[in-house]
Structures are given as structure tokens and as C-alpha cells.
């Protein structure tokens, strides 16, 4: 577990989106083999501007507006990696990763395994996900549980601006394929100090976002933000709530989960996805395997519901809220 990543120069206040953009600029300048590809990533700088300025700086050969076809974006990334390049592909919204899933699950994730490392799939697939911003249908789905069930992929879920930069740089440099999930609500809604220049956060090290002893809320991506607000608010009630930000779901920092749950004895796990088969279930299993005898109360999950992600007027009902997280915290504390 690490508190902060390594950094070289001083910080500045950025949104998560700006931090992602900074990482892309930094990495492309560092390594000529990096090629950015996706829908509208060049001239338009991405529909959210995550890739802004890249085509101007690095040219149309390295920053490529592809045809509108997710399958061949992921599939061509495999070929680029076979040629020794480092593709950083953008899927415009994670809900449309289904159109690429046969390549992601069947090809990207298996390239190293089936060729016994002849080919090194140093591929990063970035995609925004998650709800709360009133997008059209299929733009908000949280599919990390489905992705975590694909062996051979790493799965990275930053929750802060600094981590977005540091984890993206590490993902691009990682020799394994990484799906890098960016919370839509965090793009402009999360801001913070971000080290400028080189900034790396290792994959697989969770971060203790809030210290606390009574109960720990375990979360990732935007849900960390919500959990921290709850922890801060409950200080007034004399409750000491820890928040563990997993940062990456694969690799999962088993030791960090065990250590904080052993200390607190009570845990809440938060996710935005459909509950059945969601990644929170994996975290709860980990707690049971690692910390069963330290538990003082049953672990509680706060998730989405077992329904498709809904349209706008039902979004706030679906997405875990601060109130639902706070209620879950009180519930695990009620058990004497």
C-alpha cells in the first residue's frame, strides 16, 4: 500500500480530464512507439477532450481518427502490438465495448498467453464509464465486473486527478494489456493537485484515502469520492471511517484489503455496477477468505440494482448515493 506515488516536480491543481491529457502528452513525448487511436481522438481531441492537442503535437501518424468500428480499434491494436508498437486506444464509452468484446476478451487478453510471450500486448484501452451525468442510454454502464472476469487483462480505476495521471502513465508503460476506466462524473467533477512532469503510481497498490478505525468503506473510481464525503461527514458523529481506494481491480491489493479490514473489523463495499456478479462480490469474498475471524459484523454491499442502467429520471435512484453509503456504514456499526 502506498500513500502517494513518486513525483519529480511540484504539483498543480487539475481536473481528472486535464490530468489524463497530461499523462498522454508526457508518455507520447517520452516514447515514439506510442500510437493513440480511436473515434474522434485527433482533430476533435476526443469527445471529452482527453486527447486534446495530441495530433497537433505528435502528428496524424501517431494520433489516428479511426472509422467508427470498435472491434477493429481493439483488433488493430493487437496487430500494432505485434509490430512492436504501443497502442493506446480509446473506446468512446464503455457501453460500446460490447462491439469490441470479442477482440478484447478473445484476442487482446490472450495474446501473451497463447503465444507464450512471443508477442507482448503492451496495449492500453481507455474508456469513460459510470453514470450520474444524464447521458443517453448505454453511455453509463459499469462493466468492470465483466472485464475482471477476463484473464490476462489488467483493470485500472483511478479515483483522483493525481492517480489518473500516475496510473495512466504506468498503464501505458506496463507490458500487459490494461483497460483503464475513467469515471465520467470525475472528468470535470474531480480535481486536485497533480505533480507535473513525470508521475508514476504503481499498478496493484491500493491507497488509504481516509484513515479510520471503526469501519472501512472499500471502493474504486468515483465511489471513492462519495465514500470520502461520507467519512468526512460522519466525523461529526464521532465515527472514524476509513476509506480504501482499490485503484486497480486487477491486480488486486489483497494485503491492503486484509490489513485495513483486520484493523476495523467492519466493512462496506461500494460499487456502481449491477449487483449480481459485480466486483464487490469479489472484494467480499476476499474479506471472507482473508479476515473472517476479525469480522465483528457481516460485510454490506452498496451497489446498483439488478436492472439495466436506467434513463435520466431514474439515475439518482440507481447510482449509490452518499445517503445509501452512510446508511450502510451505520448498519455495520449497529451490530455489537
Amino acid at each position: 500500500m502506498s500513500e502517494i506515488g513518486s513525483s519529480v516536480t511540484g504539483p498543480s491543481e487539475l481536473t481528472m480530464l486535464q490530468a489524463i491529457n497530461e499523462a498522454l502528452h508526457h508518455e507520447m513525448a517520452r516514447d515514439e512507439r506510442i500510437v493513440v487511436l480511436g473515434e474522434d481522438v485527433g482533430r476533435n481531441g476526443g469527445v471529452f477532450r482527453a486527447t486534446e492537442g495530441l495530433v497537433e503535437k505528435f502528428g496524424e501518424e501517431r494520433v489516428v481518427d479511426t472509422p467508427l468500428a470498435e472491434g477493429v480499434i481493439a483488433g488493430a491494436a493487437v496487430g500494432l502490438a505485434m509490430a512492436g508498437l504501443i497502442p493506446v486506444a480509446e473506446l468512446q464509452f464503455l457501453g460500446f465495448s460490447y462491439q469490441a468484446m470479442h477482440q478484447i476478451a478473445g484476442q487482446v487478453a490472450r495474446l501473451r498467453y497463447r503465444t507464450r510471450s512471443r508477442f507482448e500486448p503492451a496495449i492500453t484501452i481507455r474508456s469513460p464509464f459510470g453514470g450520474g451525468v444524464r447521458t443517453p442510454e448505454l453511455h453509463s454502464d459499469s462493466l468492470e465486473g465483466q472485464l475482471a472476469n477476463i484473464a490476462g487483462l489488467k483493470l485500472v480505476t483511478p479515483a483522483t486527478a493525481a492517480d489518473a495521471k500516475g496510473l495512466l502513465s504506468s498503464s501505458i508503460r506496463d507490458p500487459d494489456p490494461v483497460v483503464f476506466l475513467e469515471p465520467l462524473r470525475g472528468y470535470r467533477g474531480i480535481r486536485g493537485e497533480v505533480p507535473s512532469g513525470e508521475h508514476l503510481v504503481p499498478l496493484g497498490e491500493a491507497r488509504l484515502a481516509r484513515e479510520g478505525d471503526d469501519v472501512v468503506v472499500i471502493a474504486w473510481s468515483y465511489q471513492v469520492e462519495l465514500a470520502c464525503r461520507v467519512a468526512d461527514a460522519l466525523i461529526d458523529e464521532n465515527l472514524s471511517v476509513a476509506v480504501l481506494d482499490l485503484r486497480s481491480l486487477v491486480p488486486l491489493d489483497l494485503a491492503a484489503i486484509a490489513s485495513v479490514v483486520d484493523r476495523c473489523g467492519r466493512a462496506v463495499v461500494v460499487e456502481e455496477a449491477v449487483q449480481t456478479g459485480g466486483f464487490a462480490g469479489e472484494v467480499v469474498t476476499t474479506i471472507v477468505e482473508e479476515c473472517f475471524w476479525s469480522l465483528e459484523s457481516p460485510v454490506v454491499r452498496v451497489s446498483g440494482y439488478d436492472v439495466p442502467y436506467p434513463v435520466g429520471q431514474l439515475e439518482d435512484t440507481y447510482v449509490p448515493s452518499e445517503a445509501r453509503i452512510a446508511a450502510a456504514v451505520r448498519r455495520v456499526l449497529e451490530v455489537a
Partner: protein, 331 residues
């Protein structure tokens, strides 16, 4: 157009005959339970061997589907050795040496076509000479991946040759139920790329078509879709019974146009081929595949290999699973 020389045609025929001979051996090995399911090459030999001979193995890549390996001798003996490793179920079967520009077989149909376009694109970005040839079937050409990849190849003018082996069947589904298109090569028009149809039983014609497409690609004129018309003379795989659906008269007609007999006739006329040469090629081919089979069966494998090469470094979860596997392997 460059016609292949007589010597080149002779080399192609040697590979074709060896492939046909070895395919028969594969069938028997499968029936004996020594190897898994395989897809016979019968009827596709001219297309595959002539394509390989029109390429430069030191710079051009081949991304196969699953029917081709026996006729890829031009890419080195490692291709057959690894094909046999694959057939006995050894994971090293898909790990060809760095020097061999052949990708492993692809079982998820058409997914290799986007890879080929990406690879060709990547070679261009790095100013590497060479082209990529990707094999796929008529059935595979109905998959989205074919269309997405052909479209992207056109936009990027990637040095790739999309080689569709139209053998009229996708397991039991005949071409007319695969598509209403009169010609598969015509689809090239829709993607702004070059498209040609070639008689896939005519080794010289295939050689020409690939050579021409390769020159265009190297000259920066972009991709070519080649439809090589052949007929699947055998079963789809060792698990298939084609008598359930292939009309016998169609098969009879196709047998009369056997690509091997055709090229033999030509080379006999030139005085370059006779029964004696043929039987020497067959004998040599059999001892070669028997050797490769024995070596594959003797190739060592530890249970722990199950966990290797999934990620560059085991995740904490995998590290525990690896330990568990080692103790469970002793149960």
C-alpha cells in the same frame, strides 16, 4: 505480371504434394487419438503454397486461419513442428520463434483480419518493408471483423493482402446461404480497395495475383482482397461428416479439377515431374511429419505451465493460485 519460373512451380508442387500426404497422416493420427481435431487442407494446397512462394519470408507476414500450416513449408520447418505441438495440445504450439513471420492459428473466425491490418499499419509506421497476408474463409467473410478490417485497411492504405479462400462451404453452410453477393472480391469496391478473383486451383495464377498485390502494397498502393476460388475436397474437420450435406456430384466435379493433378500435368509436360519424384516427395513428407509428431509427443510440459505467460508478473491472486496448483497437482 511475373509468371512464376518453372523451378518455382516445381517447388510449389513439392510443397503441395507433401501437404496432401501429411494431411492423410494427420487424419490417421486423429483417429488413433494421438492428436486433437484438425482441419484438412485437401483442395487448398495450390492457394496456400503458391501464396507462400510469392512472398519473402524474411519480411512478409502470414496470419493463417487453421487449414493452412501443412503448405507453409516455405516459412521454415518450425511451422510444421509447431503445428504438431499444437495438434498434440502443447501450449508451445502457438509460440513460433521470433524469426518465423507466421502467427499462430486462429480459431475465433475472422478476428485475425483486424490483427493483420494493425500489423501492416505498424510496419508502415516503422518504415519496415514487407506485407501481411491474412487467410480466411468464405464463411469468415460474413463476420463483422472482415468488414471493419477491410474498411480500415482501405482508409490507411495498409500493405495487407486479404486472402479469402472461398471453398464454397462453411462447415455445412453453402456459399449461397452465406451471402447474396455474386462475388466476394466485388466487396472490395465498397471499401475502396483493390479486389481480384483468382482460380485457386491454378498455382501459377495464385502466384501472379499475390505477387501483383504484394508489389502494389509495397509501392504504397494499399490493400488487395484476393478471392481464391477452390473446393473443399475433404471434411470440414476430423469431427465432421460431409456426406450429410455435400452433393456427391459436386464433389466429383471438384475432384476432376484437383489442383495437384493440374500442376503435375503441366510439370510432367515440361519433363520436371514423374511418378518417381512424386513417391520420393511422399516418402520424405511422411518421415518428416512422423519425426515432428514424435518430437511433439516427447516435448516436456509441467503442470505449472498453466499459470505461465498470462500476465508478465503474477497478480497476488495468481501467485496464490500458482502455489495452490503446485500442491493440488500432487493430489
Amino acid at each position: 505480371m511475373t509468371r512464376p519460373s518453372d523451378d518455382q512451380l516445381l517447388a510449389v508442387l513439392v510443397d503441395m504434394v507433401a501437404a496432401r500426404t501429411q494431411a492423410r497422416r494427420l487424419w490417421n493420427l486423429q483417429r488413433q487419438g494421438r492428436i486433437g481435431t484438425v482441419a484438412p487442407i485437401d483442395g487448398h494446397e495450390a492457394t496456400v503454397a503458391a501464396t507462400a512462394h510469392a512472398l519473402d519470408p524474411s519480411q512478409d507476414w502470414i496470419l493463417p486461419q487453421y487449414r493452412e500450416p501443412l503448405a507453409l513449408q516455405r516459412y521454415g520447418p518450425e511451422v510444421l513442428d509447431h503445428y504438431m505441438l499444437y495438434n498434440v495440445g502443447h501450449p508451445d504450439g502457438s509460440r513460433l520463434p521470433e524469426s518465423v513471420r507466421v502467427a499462430p492459428l486462429q480459431i475465433s473466425l475472422a478476428t485475425q483480419i483486424p490483427h493483420a491490418v494493425g500489423l501492416a499499419w505498424g510496419m508502415t509506421l516503422q518504415d519496415e518493408a514487407g506485407v501481411v497476408v491474412v487467410f480466411f474463409g468464405d464463411g469468415s467473410s460474413s463476420e463483422g471483423d472482415f468488414h471493419e478490417a477491410a474498411n480500415l485497411a482501405g482508409v490507411l492504405r495498409a500493405p495487407v493482402i486479404l486472402l479469402c479462400m472461398n471453398n464454397q462451404w462453411a462447415i455445412s453452410t453453402p456459399l449461397h446461404q452465406q451471402t447474396a453477393a455474386a462475388s466476394l472480391a466485388d466487396r472490395a469496391v465498397g471499401y475502396g480497395i483493390n479486389g481480384v478473383t483468382v482460380d485457386g486451383n491454378d498455382a501459377a495464377a495464385v502466384f501472379d495475383a499475390v505477387d501483383e498485390a504484394r508489389k502494389r502494397a509495397l509501392a504504397g498502393q494499399g490493400p488487395t482482397l484476393i478471392e481464391a476460388c477452390v473446393y473443399r475436397l475433404g471434411a470440414h474437420t476430423t469431427a465432421d461428416d460431409p456426406t450429410r450435406y455435400v452433393p456427391p456430384e459436386d464433389l466429383e466435379a471438384a475432384r476432376r479439377d484437383d489442383p495437384i493433378e493440374r500442376l503435375e500435368k503441366h510439370l510432367v509436360e515440361l519433363g520436371l515431374w514423374d511418378d518417381e519424384i512424386r513417391s520420393a516427395v511422399e516418402t520424405q513428407a511422411l518421415s518428416r511429419i512422423d519425426e515432428a509428431t514424435d518430437a511433439a509427443e516427447a516435448h516436456p510440459l509441467r503442470a505449472e505451465a498453466l499459470m505461465d505467460h498470462c500476465l508478465s508478473v503474477d497478480s497476488p491472486r495468481m501467485a496464490r493460485q500458482r502455489l495452490a496448483l503446485l500442491s493440488e497437482a500432487e493430489l
